[in-house]
């Protein structure tokens, strides 16, 4: 019926009642990144945890410098360093239970190592002997993910599946500031919130996506604010404050485990090294900016807090250093050995059963290798 046909009977009515579907206020992040070290809260922090974090940070820094050195010696194809981000890496590993899952990106090998993965396995992708150097199920660490943010929906799906199975499992997914611009970041957060999946997203905002600063990446008030649009809480934390990151992530994990759904945590940190050993950061940032962040180094921060409380002395610092050196020496020695490679592995894992086409190609490569072998033998050349 048209308005005319109603002959004046029609009265304009407001639309059906509207109200926000979620109260946004409790989802909003703090106005400034949450800190523990250097604040009153530092005095209350668990001494055992602080000491453990310190040991892991020192090892983590040494791991980063050792891995970078291995690229210069030709033992790694490439290394994206997490120097300066060790507090995020270590805290991410330490807040998880054994049954939980970690979803790292290529810059997060340290988090995998801190979770207990053999560093030689963690570096397999970057050495180039196989795409994943480890079985993800052994320590519940997804393969290092290179296409940015594409691992985030995996974390959501895994967490959702675990919950459907009645398992008490949380997934923690790591991503960088650049990754938050990807569509998969958006889709993952949306699915996680709709499904109330037990997943925690940790954005390590290290200031740069290779050369592009955050200002060119987003106009959001903070990356943590993005959470509100999905209906999940956003938390903002000082990413160089290991105690703060551990606390905020720990609370988010506990919230997810208790059925409270996902959380987005933005840890504000800084990438102290270039993107990788193949990058030149002098082209896009000033030394003074790097130096300003060096004054807020995660290890120095924690060391200061520990010594101030009398929880760490010179001997303790030396012990942590020696422990890290031993780890580095072992890593160096094992990475200096050539990995054993079987070219036939190239065909064995494409499908459960190789196709006839793959079998033909496998036979071709086998014949080529045999011919190569005969050639070496006839020349008497050392192999």
């Amino acid at each position: 019926m048209t308005v005319m046909e109603q002959r004046g009977a029609y009265r304009p009515t407001p639309p059906p009642a509207w109200q926000p579907r979620t109260d946004p206020a409790p989802l909003l992040p703090d106005e400034v990144p949450y800190r523990v070290l250097g604040t009153d809260a530092a005095a209350e922090a668990d001494p055992g945890l602080l000491r453990r974090l310190y040991g892991e940070l020192v090892r983590g820094r040494r791991y980063n410098t050792q891995a970078t050195a291995l690229t210069k010696q030709g033992r790694l194809a490439v290394y994206p360093s997490s120097t300066g981000q060790e507090a995020c890496q270590v805290a991410a590993a330490l807040v998880l239970e054994e049954r939980d899952w970690l979803f790292p990106s290529y810059r997060d090998t340290l988090a995998a190592v801190a979770r207990g993965l053999d560093p030689v396995q963690a570096l397999g992708l970057l050495r180039g002997d196989w795409h994943s150097g480890y079985d993800p199920r052994e320590r519940r660490i997804a393969p290092l993910c290179t296409p940015l943010a594409t691992q985030l929906p995996h974390a959501v799906g895994l967490a959702h599946a675990a919950r459907l199975q009645g398992d008490d499992v949380v997934a923690l997914a790591l991503v960088g500031d650049g990754g938050t611009s990807e569509g998969d970041f958006h889709e993952a957060l949306n699915f996680a919130a709709v499904w109330q999946a037990p997943v925690v997203f940790l954005v390590q905002n290290n200031g740069f996506a290779i050369s592009v600063p955050l200002a060119k990446q987003t106009a959001a008030p903070s990356l943590a604010h993005k959470a509100v649009g999905y209906g999940m809480p956003g938390r903002l934390v000082d990413g160089n404050d290991a105690a703060a990151v551990h606390q905020v992530l720990g609370e988010a994990v506990a919230h997810a485990r208790a059925g409270g759904g996902p959380t987005l945590v933005e840890a504000v940190t800084y990438r102290m090294e270039a993107h990788t050993n193949a990058d030149d950061d002098k082209r896009y940032r000033a030394d003074s900016e790097v130096e300003a962040w060096r004054a807020h180094d995660p290890i120095a921060l924690l060391e200061h807090a520990l010594t101030e409380r009398g929880l760490l002395d010179e001997a303790g610092i030396e012990a942590a250093r020696e422990d890290a050196e031993a780890m580095a020496a072992d890593l160096r020695e094992r990475m200096n050995q050539d990995p054993a490679l079987d070219p036939m592995d190239l065909f064995g894992h494409v499908y459960d059963q190789p196709t006839t086409q793959l079998l033909e190609q496998e036979a071709q490569l086998r014949a080529e290798l045999a011919a190569e072998e005969r050639h070496h033998e006839s020349e008497g050349a050392p192999r």
Partner: protein, 334 residues
């Protein structure tokens, strides 16, 4: 001997029955996608599944294909067997990064430690009068990605048997459903569904000795019709239904072409860079000394899929197939 009531059923019904039987047989099987729950899918393939198995097993997801496939990857990593529905061929493209960078590679990446038992159902092809983005033949994209199986049924019985096999497979399967055959009927007993069909085996749908039509999915009925019409010209055509594009059944195809000496590949997908190029090359490599004529292709034109009022000019039809058969150098025999 008991007589079994064999009733005509549609391909859509057979697909739905395959999903239902798979879900009943294995609690790890989860169906997910846009509108698959309450509505039962835009083609009604998932009709009744949410009601029977609950919304946790047949889930209406947010409208985001990368998210659907990406979360399904995580579910498969945890041991489930997700069956994902992409609503239309052209709407699957947002999921390509997940498909190519993760789904196809996870087994290889982890040296066999972690497989992804995922089925990705994609309604594909034209002939239904769909407006833009509803009629693409996207099989060549999938075929070009190692690690994926690419399967497409052309009969009601195969729709059931191949979908059961896809869901049972420990490898990811892109399961292409020919839209215009959704409502095709066939004598098929829904109370006694056909056996699970092995993935990777082609079948000879019609025996003949003059030439081989190599086809799959939506083009099978067209080829069978062309083969009947060809009798008037004195040609007795063999028709091979590939059923699986990956793995490709070289044996069945080669055996047929060596016997007939002539071959035409027929599909809706574009000619340039389409599956027919790969198939013609494989046939030529294996049957060169048996061939009486070059292997020809009857395929879609190399144009964006046309609007519905023009699509009949694009789709391979009986006349175009017979014209190709006529060009198979028969005069050399005389």
């Amino acid at each position: 001997m008991t007589t079994v009531a064999v009733k005509p059923a549609t391909m859509a019904q057979a697909l739905g029955r395959a999903l239902r039987d798979a879900m009943a047989a294995d609690p790890a099987v989860h169906v997910m996608g846009e509108d698959v729950g309450t509505l039962g899918g835009v083609f009604r393939v998932t009709d009744g599944l949410a009601k029977e198995f609950g919304e946790d097993r047949c889930t209406d997801t947010p409208l985001a294909e990368a998210g659907i496939l990406g979360t399904a990857v995580g579910m498969a990593m945890y041991g489930l067997r997700p069956v994902v529905e992409m609503q239309f061929d052209a709407f699957a493209y947002p999921a390509f990064e997940q498909l190519i960078s993760h789904v196809s590679r996870m087994r290889n990446r982890t040296r066999g430690a972690m497989s992804l038992p995922l089925t990705i159902r994609v309604p594909y092809g034209g002939g239904i009068g769909g407006v833009e983005h509803h009629s693409d033949s996207s099989e060549a994209y999938y075929m070009a990605t190692p690690g994926l199986h690419v399967v497409t049924p052309a009969t009601v019985a195969d729709a059931y048997g191949l979908l059961r096999a896809a869901i049972a497979s420990d490898d990811p399967v892109v399961f292409l459903e020919p839209k215009r055959l959704y409502w095709s009927k066939d004598s098929w007993n829904p109370d006694e569904p056909t056996a699970v069909e092995p993935i990777g085996r082609a079948v000879v749908r019609r025996s003949g000795r003059s030439a081989t039509l190599i086809t799959y999915g939506p083009s099978l009925p067209v080829c069978l019709e062309a083969a009947e019409a060809a009798r008037a010209e004195g040609w007795n055509l063999e028709v091979v239904d590939l059923r699986s594009l990956v793995p490709f059944d070289d044996e069945t195809v080669t055996t047929s072409v060596r016997r007939t000496g002539r071959a035409v590949v027929v599909h809706e997908s574009g000619t340039f860079g389409g599956p027919g190029g790969e198939i013609a090359a494989r046939v030529t490599e294996r049957c060169f000394h048996y061939l009486e004529a070059p292997v020809l292709r009857v395929a879609g034109f190399d144009i964006p899929y046309p609007p519905p009022m023009l699509e009949r000019h694009h789709l391979p039809g009986v006349d175009r197939i017979l014209d190709a058969v006529a060009r198979l150098q028969w005069e050399a025999e005389n």
